[in-house]
C-alpha cells in the first residue's frame, strides 16, 4: 500500500468533510496538534512517574501526622499540610468574589473611557510582577502595615493579590464570550442591568470563571518565595488553629527537604509532592466539576 493510499484510508476514518480533507496535509495537521498536546501530557506523566516512584513508599500515616525532623524516616508533613489547607481555603474564598467582581465591573458596567483602559492595563501588568515582589508587598502592607503579623491571613491576602490577574482575565474573557442576544433578551422583558448580569450573563460565564480559579489556585498552592519573604516559617512544631496563627506551607517544606544533604530526603520530598498534587486535585476537582456541569455551547 502506498503512502498516499494509506493516508487516504486513515484520513477517511478520521476526517469529516469533503475528499480534500482526506489528504496528507490534513492528517499532518492533526498529527501536529496531537504532538503539541502530548508534549505537555508527556512531561506531566514523566514528572508524575518520577515523583510516584520516589515518594509513594513514604506516604503512610506517620508521614501525615508527624512533625518535621532532621531524620528522614521520622519527617512528617502535618503542620505544612494543615497550613496549606487553611491558606488555600482563605485564598479561594477571598479571591473569587474579588476577582469576579472586578471582572464583572470592567466588562459589564464600566464606561469605555481612559480610566477603564488604565484599569485593564493595570490588571494585565500585575500578572508579570514576580512573586517575590508580592512577598515584599505583603510584608510591608499586611504583616507590618495592617498588623496581621506572620499569619495565615497575611499569607492568604498576598496570594490573593498574586492570582487576582488570572481570575480577572479569565472571567472577562468568559463574559465577553456570552452572546449579546442573551443580554438583549433579558432587557427586552424588562430586567435591569444588574438582574441581567446576575441571572443570565454571569451564570453563562461560570465555566470560564472556573478556569480562572483553577489556574489561579494551582499557581497559589505551589508558591514558595513570596511566603518565605513575608515570614512564613519552615519549621513549626504545632498545627495552626486559626487564620491568625503563624504557619508553614507544603511547598516551603518540600523545598527545604530537597535542599538537605541526606539523599533520603529526596524521597521524603517526593512524598510531599504527591500529597500536594492530591490536595490540588481535590481543590480543582470542585471547580472542574462545576465547569463541566454548567458548560454550554452557543
Amino acid at each position: 500500500m502506498s503512502a498516499a493510499t494509506l493516508a487516504r484510508t486513515v484520513g477517511a476514518s478520521l476526517a469529516t468533510g469533503k475528499r480534500a480533507e482526506r489528504s496528507l496535509g490534513s492528517l499532518a495537521f492533526q498529527l501536529v496538534l496531537l504532538v503539541c498536546l502530548l508534549v505537555g501530557l508527556l512531561t506531566l506523566a514523566t514528572l508524575l512517574v518520577d515523583v510516584l516512584r520516589k515518594g509513594v513508599g513514604g506516604l503512610d500515616a506517620s508521614f501525615l501526622t508527624s512533625l518535621d525532623s532532621r531524620f528522614p524516616e521520622k519527617a512528617g508533613i502535618r503542620p505544612a499540610l494543615v497550613g496549606t489547607l487553611w491558606l488555600m481555603g482563605l485564598t479561594a474564598v477571598i479571591s473569587f468574589p474579588l476577582g469576579v467582581g472586578a471582572a464583572v465591573y470592567l466588562e459589564e458596567f464600566a464606561p469605555k473611557n481612559r480610566f477603564t483602559s488604565f484599569l485593564e492595563v493595570n490588571v494585565a501588568n500585575l500578572a508579570a510582577v514576580p512573586s517575590v515582589i508580592y512577598g515584599l508587598l505583603g510584608l510591608a502592607v499586611f504583616v507590618r502595615g495592617l498588623q496581621m503579623g506572620r499569619s495565615i491571613m497575611a499569607g492568604a491576602m498576598t496570594l490573593v493579590l498574586l492570582i487576582l490577574p488570572v481570575i480577572i482575565v479569565a472571567t472577562r474573557e468568559a463574559l465577553r464570550a456570552v452572546p449579546d442576544s442573551i443580554r438583549e433578551g433579558a432587557y427586552a422583558v424588562g430586567a435591569t442591568q444588574g438582574q441581567t448580569v446576575w441571572h443570565q450573563t454571569l451564570p453563562a460565564a461560570l465555566p470560564g470563571t472556573m478556569t480562572g480559579m483553577i489556574l489561579g489556585l494551582s499557581r497559589a498552592i505551589g508558591e514558595t518565595a513570596p511566603l518565605i519573604t513575608l515570614g512564613a516559617l519552615t519549621f513549626v512544631n504545632f498545627v495552626p488553629r486559626g487564620p491568625w496563627d503563624r504557619f508553614t506551607a507544603m511547598p516551603i517544606q518540600i523545598f527545604n527537604w530537597v535542599s538537605r544533604p541526606q539523599s533520603e530526603f529526596q524521597n521524603v520530598a517526593a512524598s510531599g509532592i504527591i500529597l500536594l498534587l492530591g490536595v490540588l486535585l481535590a481543590m480543582n476537582g470542585v471547580a472542574v466539576y462545576l465547569r463541566y456541569r454548567y458548560e454550554r455551547r452557543w
Binding site: F235, R246, N256
Partner: protein, 320 residues
C-alpha cells in the same frame, strides 16, 4: 439550562466547612491548648538557612520535652532575618556570619539589645571528582590564585606544574550566601572578591552533582554535603601554613583545619528573656546543641569556646 446560584453557595459552604473541619482537627500533636502543667509560650526564630538545621534539631528535641511550647523557625536568610530581629519581630536569629554595622545600627535605633553565641562550626570543604588522582592537597595561595577576581586559570597544570594538562571547571557558592562571603574572605583576603566565571548555586546539592559528574571539577561547599556524598567526591587537604590538613570533625573542632573552619552563630534578643519559654529553649540549646549538631553535619565547637559561650549566656540572662 437553568443556572442556580444557590447550588454554588451551598457547594462552597460544604467545601469550606469540610476544610475547616480538617484544619481544626485534633491538636494532640505539639503546641496548642494547655494540658495542665508544663511550660507554655511561643519561641520565634529566623535567619540563615545554614544554621536552620541546628535550630530545628534543637526544637525537635525540645518539643518532645515541652509539647505545649510553640516553636517556629524561618529561613529568610541571615540578612532578612537580622532585619526582622532588629525590628523586634523575632526572639532568636540564626546567623552564618557575625552581625554587620548596618544591622548593629538598626538594632540600636530600635533599642534591641542582644547576645551573640557561637553554637557550631562548619568546615568548608574543597572537593574534586574521585577520578582526580593528581590533586590531594592545595595551599591557600594556590586556591587564591584560582579564585581571585580576574583569574585566568582554566587548566589544572596552571595550578601546579606537576598537575596534568586538563581543563579546570569550577563550582562554588552563590554570591549572596554566607559561604561565599566566608570563603572569599578567608582565601582571597576580601569578602566578595572572586572571579565570576564559575557555576554557582545556592543549593549545595546541585554543586555536589556538578562535581560528581565532572572529572575536571573543583568545588567548595559545606562539610555536611561532602560527608553525605563522600562516596561520590574526593576531599582535598588544605595547607593553611602548617601543613596539609583534611577536614574531619577533629581538625575542624580544634582549629587545625584552617582557614576554612567557619563559626555559626545564634543571637538572642534581651527583651525575650522575659519570656520563660525562650529562656528554657535557649538553656536547652546551649546544653544540647553540641550533641545535636553532629546529626545535621556540623561540628561542635572547641571545649574552651563552648565554656566561654555558656558563660556568656549565663551572664546575659543574669543581666536582664
Amino acid at each position: 439550562m437553568r443556572m442556580a446560584p444557590r447550588w454554588l453557595g451551598a457547594a462552597a459552604l460544604v467545601v469550606a466547612l469540610s476544610l475547616a473541619a480538617v484544619a481544626c482537627g485534633n491538636t494532640e500533636e505539639g503546641g496548642g491548648g494547655s494540658t495542665g502543667g508544663g511550660l507554655t509560650g511561643t519561641v520565634t526564630g529566623d535567619g540563615s538557612s545554614t544554621v536552620f538545621p541546628i535550630t530545628q534539631a534543637v526544637a525537635e528535641e525540645f518539643t518532645a520535652e515541652n509539647p505545649d511550647v510553640q516553636v517556629s523557625v524561618g529561613i529568610s536568610g541571615t540578612g532578612g532575618g537580622f532585619e526582622k530581629f532588629c525590628n523586634g519581630e523575632t526572639d532568636i536569629q540564626d546567623a552564618s556570619r557575625p552581625i554587620e554595622q548596618d544591622e548593629i545600627d538598626l538594632c540600636r535605633k530600635n533599642g534591641i539589645e542582644y547576645v551573640e553565641l557561637q553554637v557550631a562550626l562548619d568546615g568548608l570543604s574543597v572537593v574534586v571528582n574521585p577520578a582526580n588522582d593528581w590533586a590531594s592537597c592545595l595551599t591557600v595561595d594556590q586556591l587564591k590564585a584560582i579564585w581571585e577576581p580576574g583569574s585566568e586559570i582554566d587548566n589544572w597544570s596552571q595550578v601546579d606544574p606537576s598537575f596534568p594538562d586538563r581543563p579546570l571547571t569550577l563550582y562554588g557558592a552563590g554570591t549572596d550566601s554566607g559561604t561565599f562571603d566566608y570563603f572569599t574572605d578567608a582565601i582571597v583576603g576580601e569578602e566578595g572578591a572572586s572571579r565570576s566565571d564559575y557555576t554557582a548555586s545556592e543549593d549545595d546539592n546541585v554543586l555536589v552533582q556538578g562535581v560528581a559528574g565532572d572529572e575536571n571539577a573543583l568545588g567548595y561547599f559545606g562539610y555536611a554535603y561532602y560527608v553525605e556524598n563522600s562516596d561520590k567526591l574526593k576531599v582535598l587537604a588544605i595547607d593553611g601554613g602548617n601543613g596539609c590538613v583534611e577536614p574531619t570533625p577533629e581538625t575542624i573542632n580544634d582549629g587545625s583545619y584552617t582557614p576554612l573552619s567557619r563559626p555559626l552563630f545564634v543571637y538572642v534578643k534581651k527583651a525575650s528573656l522575659a519570656n520563660p519559654a525562650v529562656v528554657a529553649f535557649m538553656d536547652y540549646y546551649m546544653a544540647n546543641s553540641q550533641a545535636l549538631v553532629k546529626d545535621v553535619g556540623y561540628i561542635d565547637v572547641h571545649p574552651d569556646t563552648y565554656a566561654a559561650e555558656v558563660k556568656e549566656w549565663e551572664d546575659f540572662k543574669a543581666s536582664a
